[in-house]
Symmetry: C2
Subunit: 326 residues, 2 copies
């Protein structure tokens, strides 16, 4: 993985992905005791940074491979990112989703033009189902994070952070990144290494799903005991990837772990002070900046708000607990 | 009022106001039956476009006047816009607010460094109180809309729309603008007249507060019967201004009126599809684009989402009615 791959992805993404804003509020600065800048990737197409990696991977395919189409496994943000990128590029996309995935997520993925194939989580073998379809139709698998072009796409978010931080007069800061499999974390770390070496990435995870944090401590890939059930569903990946972990190990500072409740509280803060909608997994980095300031160094901190695909029900929970009382 | 005043305001606002993004979603396009582009002014500093006008007015003062300070009457977005601009410029700001204004709005305005003077809505004379303070301390009054420099500041939003629409390949469209006293509406109309003459402004108002719509029909300034009580509190101004109405009359197409319920529905749509937080008054233009497509012409429509300063209680109401069911 090199910066050249990220620069090439940025060239392919130009005019297609949104350049998301770096937001701030004096109220959040006061809360954290330092300047807080929030990279609002929830405003990216499909509501999360995943569109960057999806577009990067699909636009890097040969015309022949693209004409045959792509396949992805996902019940969430990666599904929508790949589906929209495929639609915009005129490629067929098959998304393999568990049959008990939330109805609106299946409906959204279909509405974006993808063919959704469901399987029974209890009895079906997802990988076997996917492999069979992929082989029969010559589809290319787009992995959610352990893929060089996907990492390069997520890294374009880091290029924007480097430029926007410089504009804001910041050359030294920690960059807090919500971390699942590490695609965004490692991509941003690589971009900052080349373009803003004073900015250092810190992965942020929810309690009980701190595989990256533990892996960075032990120096080898660790795995979560639980596989599901986090409110932060977007980042409950079992372990860092074979491609992402070495990058994180070389470039990232220690991980930070926040509670689910702190993620909800950060969602309410983002609602009130930034006017953006975050999902719990997308709010963990902001939660670390606001509620664990003692684990962060420097006069300024940058937090990536990685996604906003949250149900009204979960959002109401955040407002019920931490919004203003009626 | 000329474009030169807006260009000069833009030069003073450069690097101070945010250039807000023009957002979109294929789901909203499908709903409206045409391309929908949303200018997200809720992401402006203090959560509404009002910061533009506040900064424009304060930065245009002589150093002597600025040193004496400014005064404004407002219980809402104008208060916060003026307060933050004053703080950033090192000027004193007195904001006269009714004593029954929501506690958080008073607290926010104070936290932004302004001196808040409250009065009893039933027994106090707001104008007399303000005039006395202004005269005693030599403060300059910053009006919420009927002020050339305020209109010029709001017009910078129109300059951005002209550039962003061109980037999106749109040279002909209607631009729907939430309309209170008409500062944003007239400022944007003036900017578009000069920079994107194929874009035409249409004011949008809530039912019962359609003074601008009726004024455009009758050709003279009409007044609302009710003075308060709209869920769209940010735009329940009694009538268009002496400066804003002639501009609107010359440049704007007919007004569009939406219901409060449609504003709530548009808030839920913006939550789900754009990941931004809107207040009811800030959502009326999007409501017109989505739920009154028959009143709009063309293949694309641009809606300004003018503000996001909404209580958690009101936001929950929108999600309860129009968010996904638990």
């Amino acid at each position: 993985m090199s910066i050249d791959l990220i620069d090439a992805a940025a060239a392919r993404l130009a005019g297609r992905a949104r350049q998301t804003p770096l937001l701030s509020s004096p109220f959040l600065d006061d809360l954290a005791g330092r300047r807080v800048l929030v990279k609002a990737e929830c405003l990216q197409h499909t509501g999360s940074f995943k569109f960057r990696g999806g577009w990067s991977a699909l636009s890097a395919l040969t015309p022949e491979a693209r004409a045959r189409g792509v396949i992805a496994f996902s019940s969430g943000n990666h599904a929508q990112g790949v589906a929209l990128a495929a639609r915009m590029l005129g490629a067929a996309a098959v998304i393999v989703m568990p049959s008990d995935a939330p109805g609106p997520k299946i409906a959204n993925t279909r509405a974006l033009g993808a063919e959704v194939v469901t399987y029974d989580r209890a009895t079906g073998d997802r990988d076997a189902i996917g492999a069979e379809i992929a082989e029969a139709r010559g589809l290319t698998l787009v992995r959610p994070f352990d893929d060089a072009q996907v990492i390069a796409g997520q890294g374009t978010c880091g290029l924007e952070i480097a430029a926007q931080a410089a504009e804001a007069g910041i050359d030294t800061a920690e960059v807090l990144v919500p971390c699942g499999g590490g695609g965004l974390t490692s991509g941003v770390a690589l971009a900052l290494e080349a373009r803003a070496p004073g900015l250092r990435v810190r992965p942020v995870e929810p309690e009980g799903f701190d595989d990256a944090t533990r892996s960075l401590v032990s120096g080898r890939i660790e795995t979560n005991t639980r596989r599901a059930g986090s409110l932060c569903d977007a980042i409950q990946t079992p372990s860092p990837g074979d491609l992402t972990f070495p990058v994180m190990s070389r470039l990232c500072g220690p991980g930070i772990v926040v509670s689910e409740d702190e993620a909800l509280r950060a969602m309410a803060a983002a609602f009130e002070r930034l006017k953006i909608v975050l999902e719990p997994g997308g709010a963990v980095a902001l939660a670390a900046a606001l509620y664990h300031p003692e684990h962060v160094a420097g006069d300024a901190v940058i937090a990536i708000a990685s996604g906003g695909n949250v149900s009204a029900e979960t959002f109401r929970m955040a407002l019920d607990r931490y919004g203003d009382a009626p």
